[in-house]
Homo-oligomer: 215 residues x 2
DNA sequence: TGTACATCAGTGAACGCGCGTTCACTGATGTAC
DNA sequence: TGTACATCAGTGAACGCGCGTTCACTGATGTAC
């Protein structure tokens, strides 16, 4: 029997195959979108038969669920380490953009078109709060003594989403604006809506960011 | 033979059936998302056999193409009539939001997650320009003598997307910000990312809009 | 070190399903004389 | 007004496809004595 904390060869192999399955899944998603993801196609690509994958995932749904959670986790980790490196709100924005450009479909798996009736896995709400906390930290550092905006004041009575984070009204407001505005530019860029318009998405992103920081 | 401008009963019937097909298609999209759209399912819902639809559309792709174009058209018409009624930029924003809430999946068909490799139908670019022109009009009316922002100045040399619209730099900048910011709040709201956060999406939307107008 | 057994990865066949699409055909509607 | 013909909507059968998933099985790997 394996000692706690040690992996048997079989366990190692298992996690390795599970990882490869997910890698192929991400490739497929990048190539044809999440709705085209197929267990059989992944198996074929790995040189295995379709049913073999059922040793590793209970089914398609379980795989997708884990991909979504992984995407959230990856984003949170990225922001965490960016913040940990001493970066401010602007640094977080650039890190977020870089993360999204790395794999647009991964971004869309979190923030893209929802499938009606589908609910995101439960553990994602915890990771969402984690991400929000990072933003609130950065906004608080930037804004601790800024005057409250009218909407910021309103938010003081509607701050369930902020948990027990001690962010002042101006920071609450800015964190939400950060989220919605960055998502706005970024998702349009990722979806290709700026191509052929003759403008540089990076500069538009930077302009939106500046405006947000200067508010 | 029918006189020009008059429809024969057969023609009338044809356009009527085509319309019903699209109505059912929209219902399906609203219910299960665009990727689940199926010709056979539409036919069944209309009490017809699957192949019957091929009298009206060359195939699934042609139907989707027309739905996308219709969505763009509908949005442009909405904004056009809003502007025509004398509404300013704020009015356009509210009209856009109302239009999106009316059928979120229709919004996402335009601005949602792109399917890799898929290209939007050609006629949509013309409608996009039309929409952009409406925004530029409203921004120019609001900003004709505002000082140019640094990014606005940069845009003077990168304004292919604005065609020959005589908008000043500040208006160019504001039109882009309008687009990206409104899309940001709105798409997160439509995707349900604010549910359970304890805040009112309408107020967040209004706050973003105010901030944009006050810039 | 060798043997007996248990565990588990992977296979191939099969099921049922729904999809898009084609084709030859029926029957109703409209047109021409 | 009636008859002959053309147009066209819709059907049912069929094709090939890929999907998710179940199941009984083989063969390799690991474990216990």
């Amino acid at each position: 029997m394996a000692r706690a904390g040690t992996e048997t060869p079989r366990e190692r192999y298992r996690t390795q195959v599970r990882t490869e399955i997910k890698e192929r899944a991400w490739e497929q998603i990048a190539t044809a979108g999440a709705s085209a993801l197929s267990l059989n196609a992944i198996a074929k690509q790995m040189g295995m038969s379709g049913p073999a994958l059922y040793r590793y995932y209970a089914g398609r749904d379980e795989l997708i669920t884990e991909l979504i959670t992984d995407a959230y986790r990856s984003l949170a980790d990225t922001l965490h380490s960016t913040a940990g490196a001493g970066e401010d709100l602007a640094g977080l924005a650039q890190a977020l953009r870089a993360w999204a450009l790395e794999d647009p479909q991964r971004y869309f798996l979190i923030y893209g078109t929802p499938v009606p009736g589908y609910h995101a896995p439960d553990d994602t709400t915890a990771i969402s709060s984690e991400i929000m906390a990072i933003l609130l930290d950065a906004c608080t550092a930037l804004t601790s003594d800024s005057p409250a905006t009218p909407f910021g004041t309103h938010l003081e009575d509607h701050r369930e989403w902020a948990g027990d984070h001690p962010a002042p009204p101006a920071a609450l407001h800015r964190a939400l604006s950060f989220w919605t505005r960055i998502h706005g530019v970024l998702s349009l860029e990722l979806a290709g809506h700026f191509t052929g318009m003759g403008l540089d998405p990076a500069r538009l992103f930077a302009a939106e960011l500046d405006d947000l920081l200067a508010r």
